[in-house]
Symmetry: C2
Subunit: 430 residues, 2 copies
């Protein structure tokens, strides 16, 4: 029998606790599938006396996580501390430098330092695995790096943040405002006390930057991600979307174009029948579009202890079996710099909602602005009429360049009859 | 640089041709992702002069596929001949015995001889890979064996045959009969001239038997699959399903129960909102339900040259990279015999459609038969009334044991007022 794989788990929050539970509870199947036992040689967390809902008896406690990188008998460090700097980064760097494999769920760390860490892993002949960093239980990293290895993937897009998807789903189903639903999500534990990381799109952008590198074999470039969140999405826009047969989702999209690689996170209008629209509530979903495979969709739980622990365990079994893949699918030295495509050059359809004072000539002025910027209209919805109050006018465009659309919107915003900042939402036809 | 991986492709039909095209066209990315070149050392097919729509120049032609197993410089045999016996089986057996890795898309071969071939592969230290045998482009074998390796999967179910899914989707969308839609599908090339393999559920059953072995770590047991096809599905049942908020899908289901493992392929009624119901037309979809991951859904193209070639290429890259996994996830020697659960012991809900002569007392007689077999009703639909012609009565039951339901159905079928064989369709709540 091959000797056990000795792992150390750093960070015993919700995910860390579930990882320990999984490894203990599934010891037998893990050994069968790995060809060797997986043994927890040490754990580390800030507070050893905290009740974590599972039995720590028999686990060796190391108070300084960085010390784990120096222990010769440890083969793999599982980093579940989180954060792009500080102890998480130091631990991963030291572990790789010491020739240890690293498994991490830390998307912020990879989004900011992924390329450098991949180079470090390659240099020391170590695995740097991060299935758990993107879309929880979905084996999306494995599917892109290995399952679709025969494809040039043209595009990957997905619902990468369960909190935002839950909020948008609830808003649609109940008609309530963003603020109301967010506050409820916080009570239910679906959203953090400080929700900005989720609702402003940062978490999705971290994950997208990782997906982009894996998909296109390029260096991780988080700074190049165009990011917008969901705070400004109103029940009115959700209702209009339904009327148009569309649904609002916060998507991360990475697309290869002639102008470079688009990386963007923002609310999108997608057709209700698009398979990705069926992923509701806390679920995540990712679509990869390969030149031979065509579109492959994965849907499942993107967060939570169990699903994330499942992904960590998959990485551990790969390491235990000796299955090796460079972090981003190809050697780090071969990762090309990402050439970003400017968002202003995006070509696609747009949804535009104006609040206008209902007086003669408004639509003519709006239409003229669009025409002058070469934007052609697909539909106009103006139903509610009120002599006293501003009424919504909803326009959808045919394919147009974003810079042209934005030029027209600036002119429209300046019209006297237009009383609020126009709302623009990109439409994606999948 | 590591030396190239030399492969031989046996069988140059639609899939074989696409595999050759893919390997030629994607040579550069395959080499980056594999760490070595993948080289087509030989091809073999019955008719060398047939126009296959691609350039065979430069490919070495071997007329006898079995000869490929004897060539020392060939590392991998890609078997795309098909069929559970004959040349395909001989080639795979000889190749493995000669210490060559085998990649195959042959579900019939694996369904009938999977365990023996896995033992042979293990004994000779070879890879036997078959991502392409189940659900085309979906990396479902990889996801089950590797991505969900930390889970005890409780159940796997899926739409495994695109032809049947296309027919059922068309029937629902157009209201036409099975025969009409089948004939159209044949004209479009979506169904074979002899469609029985698809529409009678055999193809789905082959794939399910493979999925079951991978999911539960048991020997492949095709004989234990309960198989029903879709020939008897009528537009009437499809219309009633819609009225009940359900959709008819031909599913393969493998489920671990206290009574053993259920393996069954048959038409199912599933809720319209079930994620799997969103897979329409020629698409395949598979759901795996893990104890840590929860439900993971994969959707994509299950057949066709490109998607199948994509799966073959993934297996080749795994081999080229040295990533090794036993064929069914654990060593063949550890695969336990599958203990089949009898279909008569299935516990679930049922849809029952009777054609009855509309006379007083019929419903009372039907209800009494159900009551006497301990079957309780969820709903009764009887709308059309006609003094002259039989009218449909549609019943749905609460959870009941299949043997009890069938006992009641036998008694109901014998009633004078019931003029056709009652139609029974199982309801699955996912």
């Amino acid at each position: 029998m091959t000797k056990p794989l000795n792992i150390a788990v750093a960070g015993l929050g919700n995910v860390g606790a579930k990882v320990v539970t999984l490894i203990q509870q599934q010891a037998e199947i893990l050994e069968q599938r790995s060809g060797r036992a997986i043994n927890i040689a040490a754990v580390s967390a800030r507070n050893p006396s905290l009740d974590r809902g599972f039995d720590l008896t028999g686990l060796r406690w190391v108070s300084d996580p960085l010390a784990l990188a120096a222990e010769p008998e440890i083969d793999v460090v599982v980093e579940l501390i989180g954060g792009s700097e500080g102890p998480a980064r130091h631990l991963v760097e030291r572990a790789l430098s010491a020739g240890k494999h690293v498994v991490t769920a830390n998307k912020a760390l990879l989004a900011h330092h992924g390329t450098a860490l991949a180079e470090m892993a390659d240099r020391h002949g170590c695995v740097l695995a991060f299935e758990a960093a993107v879309a929880g239980a979905l084996p999306i990293i494995k599917s892109l790096r290995e399952g679709l290895a025969g494809n040039r993937v043209r595009e990957v897009h997905g619902i990468l943040n369960g909190t935002c998807n839950y909020i948008l789903t609830e808003m649609r189903e109940t008609g309530r405002s963003f603020a109301e639903v967010l506050s409820e999500a916080q009570k239910l534990g679906y959203a953090e006390a400080d929700p900005s990381f989720d609702v402003d799109g940062v978490d999705s952008a971290h994950k997208l930057a990782i997906l982009t590198a894996v998909t296109f074999g390029c260096a991780v470039n988080f700074a190049a991600v165009h990011v917008e969140g969901i705070r400004h999405i109103s029940p009115l826009d959700i209702a209009y979307a339904s009327e148009l047969g569309l649904r609002i989702k916060l998507l991360g999209i990475a697309r290869r174009t002639d102008r470079g690689i688009e990386q963007r996170v923002h609310p999108c209008l997608v057709p209700q029948q698009a398979p990705i629209a069926a992923a509701e509530g806390v679920f995540n979903a990712v679509v990869a579009d390969g030149d031979f495979a065509d579109k492959v969709l994965l849907v499942g739980r993107g967060a939570g202890g169990g699903p994330t622990a499942s992904a960590v365990a998959a990485d551990l079994v790969d390491i235990a079996r000796g299955r090796r893949t460079p972090p981003f699918g190809i050697p780090a030295s071969a990762l090309e710099p990402l050439r970003p495509a400017a968002i202003a050059d995006r070509v696609g359809a747009y949804y535009l909602r104006l609040m206008v004072v209902d007086r003669p000539g408004v639509i003519a002025d709006v239409s003229a602005a669009l025409r002058d910027h070469a934007v052609s209209l697909e539909s106009v919805l103006q139903r509610a009429r009120s002599p006293d109050q501003p009424v919504p006018v909803v326009l959808t465009t045919h394919e147009t360049r974003e810079a042209d659309l934005m030029g027209a919107v600036s002119r429209i915003a300046a019209l006297a009859a237009v009383v609020e900042t126009p709302r623009v939402i990109r439409i994606e036809q999948f």
